[in-house]
Structures are given as C-alpha cells and as structure tokens.
Subunit: 219 residues, 2 copies
DNA sequence: CCTACCGATCGGTAGG
DNA sequence: CCTACCGATCGGTAGG
C-alpha cells in the first residue's frame, strides 16, 4: 500500500491534476470565500470531474486547509525576509534611512493584494477554522514583530535606539507603518495607492524615530 | 392604506414580534455569521414560526441588513462620543492627561467584544455586502479619524500640538492606540486583557506625544 | 373582514 | 474519469 501510494503520488498525471486543483481552488477560495466556492466550480475551472477532486482530497475542508496552508507559508516567506536586512552594525547616522527602507518594504509586502485577500478570508473563516487564523497570526505578523523586537534590542544595546520595551516598540512600528491602510483594505476592499502607502510608511517611521531615535541620528 | 400600515406598525404584537426577531437575529448573526445562521434558527430563538419572520422581513438578506445597520448605528454612537471630550481650550499642561484619557476610552470602546464581533462579521461578508462594510468604515473608524483630525487642528492652532498633517496624525493616534490589539483580536479571536489594552494605549499616546507634543507640555 | 400567526411542504442547491 | 444520483439542508411559500 505504501508502494502504491508512492507510485501514484509520483505519477505525472496525478501531479498535474493536483496542481490544477490547487491553482483553481486557490483562485476561487481567495476571491469568493469558502461558502462562495463550490466543489463543482473548482472541478470545472481545473478542467476535471468533481469526482477527481474527491479522489485527491477527502472533502472540501481538507482542500481548503491545503490551499490556506500554502498561502500562509507564502506569507511567512515575506515575513521572514522583511526585517532581515536591518543590519545590527548600523550606526546612528544610518538608522533613519534603514528604518525608512524597512518601512517601505513592509508596507509593500503586507498590502499586496494576495496578502489582503488572505487576511480577509482568514478573518471571515476564523469561526470555522480558528487554527488557520491563529497559524497565520503566529507565522506572519507575529514573526515580523518578533524579528523587529530582536533587531530593536540589538540597536538599543549599541545605543542607536532608546527602546525601553522592544516588543511594544516593534508593534508600534508595524502598525504605524501599515495599520491605517491595512484596516481600510480589510473593510473597503482595495488598498490605498502606492503614493499613499509610501507616505503612510514614511510618516510612521518619522513618528517612531521621534520617540525612540537618539537625537544625533535624526536628520 | 397609509392608515392601515400605521395601525399595524403600532400593533403591540407586531412590535413585540419584531423586537424578538431582531434580538435573535443579532445574537445569531454576530456569533455564527450569515451562512452559519438559518432563518429557522432565528425563528426558533425568537419563539415564533418561520412564516412570521417572513411576514416582517422580505428575505434573509433584508433581515441581515437591518441587524448590521443597527449594529453600525450602535458603533457610530461610540465613535461620535469618543473625541468629543477633547476640549479645544486645553493648554499644554493638560494635553498629555487629556490624550491619555482619550486613548484609554478609545481602546476600551473599539475593543469591546460586540465591536470586534461586528468587525469580523463585516470583513467576512465584505464580498457579499460591500456597502455594509464601507458604511461601517465611514461611520465608525472614519468618523473617529475625522473628529481626531479636527481636534488636532484646533490644538495646533493654539500651539498646543505641532501637527503638520492633522489627518495623518489622527490615523497614527488611532492605530498606535488600538492597532496591535485590534489586529490580534480579528485573527485570534479574543482581545487582549484590560491591562494589556491599557498599556498599549498609554504607550501609544506617549509615542504620539514624542512626535507631535510641544516640549513644555511633556511631563 | 383583516391582521397575525402556524404546521407543513416545495423548489432548488450543493456536498459527497 | 464521467454521468447519474443520493441524503440532507435551507430559503422561501401556500393553505387554513
């Protein structure tokens, strides 16, 4: 049985079918939600019969978890890359430019349409799939906050920042930079344009620096 | 016909029935969502027959819009009261205390379980009922931001605050004070406890004052 | 005669 | 892999 499973998993037809199902389901679930998407629709878009979808996934919820799990992993890669470039050897001169760069990249990444769509889906389905919403929270925003807190701690040790509570400062940085446009995107749909996103990030970083930056480092 | 309609609207039986339907529907829709609530369930909880629900509301969506409209109006009253107490005759001495009071009241109001539940419902149903999500955005967070911006403008005119862009400052104030706990509540469910909410509000206001407060007014 | 209300059921849909 | 079909559910309605 294990041999048969392995063989069927490697069968190129199975691989192609699964890829088509996943692509169709991802598009439909993210655009139309869980209840708004039918298994029939997924099969049609994937170009296969409904029965074939059930040959690969036990039921609708299993397919949904697979798709959302993939999307969370995708969001996690962004979360992981974001604060990585905030080098620990910054001096006070470089700090504002480095934080503005980080803020701009965060705003760009977090307000991507795919991420906004994923967040809306997760919040809407949080009652039915609480473990998925929590997994996203822990692996995407949670990971960004953790990394920011660690970076701020290092910068505080080298007296580039004056941060009494690194975790609080990390949250403030994140929500100063993307809070307003993200909340708007959740409720109104479309995120603000690139110019507004950039301005919000820039001004957010300035407010952060006003509290936590050391005076010599401000421009 | 107008006389007949008026008579039936004032019939105490009708009033009582409608109140029971609205109470049941509000509870169920906010706890279990639109698709997760059946008309049968609403009728049962209200203690009447399903047909009687349909005698008062054309269909499920009409009832849903009524309930959500009421909830938005409720949220709007909070939004309206919030920045009202930020008197325009503040001097620099009183400013920090007044802003901390405002921040604490905002955190308390916005993170109420009913408001959190309403926001989750609206975000989840934003695809199906975009006009409701937008109405909430305009009348609750939008109104708070507007009122904050107006208040900050007055305080800037009397040189109590130094605010180049009142709208931006208003958004930063709001999301510094509630951004992190609100985002967590949307995804993870329960909002943080009172102590964490208060600390987040307090530190948020401090960061706001670091940028926009005039030095003499800081304590 | 009208309004409010109820028990019973239908038409259509979607997961499996 | 498809057609056909089922058991169940639910929004909405007709008769009394």
């Amino acid at each position: 049985m294990s041999a048969r499973n392995r063989a069927s998993t490697e069968d190129p037809r199975v691989v192609r079918t699964r890829a088509a199902v996943v692509a169709a389901a991802r598009d439909l679930f993210l655009r139309k939600g869980h209840a708004g998407t039918t298994m029939e629709e997924i099969a049609t878009v994937a170009g296969i019969a409904k029965r074939t979808v059930y040959n690969n996934y036990a039921d609708k919820d299993a397919l949904f978890r697979e798709i959302v799990g993939d999307a969370i992993a995708y969001a996690e890669t962004f979360a992981h890359e974001l604060p990585g470039q905030l080098a620990s050897d910054l001096d006070a001169e470089d700090l504002p430019a480095a934080l503005h760069d980080l803020g701009a990249r965060m705003a760009h990444a977090i307000l991507r349409p795919e991420i906004v769509a994923l967040r809306r889906l997760l919040i809407g389905e949080a009652r039915a799939f609480p473990e998925l919403a929590r997994a996203y929270f822990d692996r995407a925003p949670g990971r960004v906050i953790d990394a920011l807190a660690a970076a701020f701690g290092t910068l505080a040790d080298s007296a580039v920042l004056d941060v009494p509570d690194v975790r609080r400062a990390a949250e403030q940085f994140a929500y100063l930079v993307v809070g307003a446009p993200l909340d708007r995107a959740m409720l109104v749909g479309e995120a603000p344009g690139a110019a507004e996103r950039a301005a919000c990030a820039r001004e957010g970083v300035e407010t952060f620096l006003a509290r936590y930056g050391r005076a010599p480092g401000r421009r």
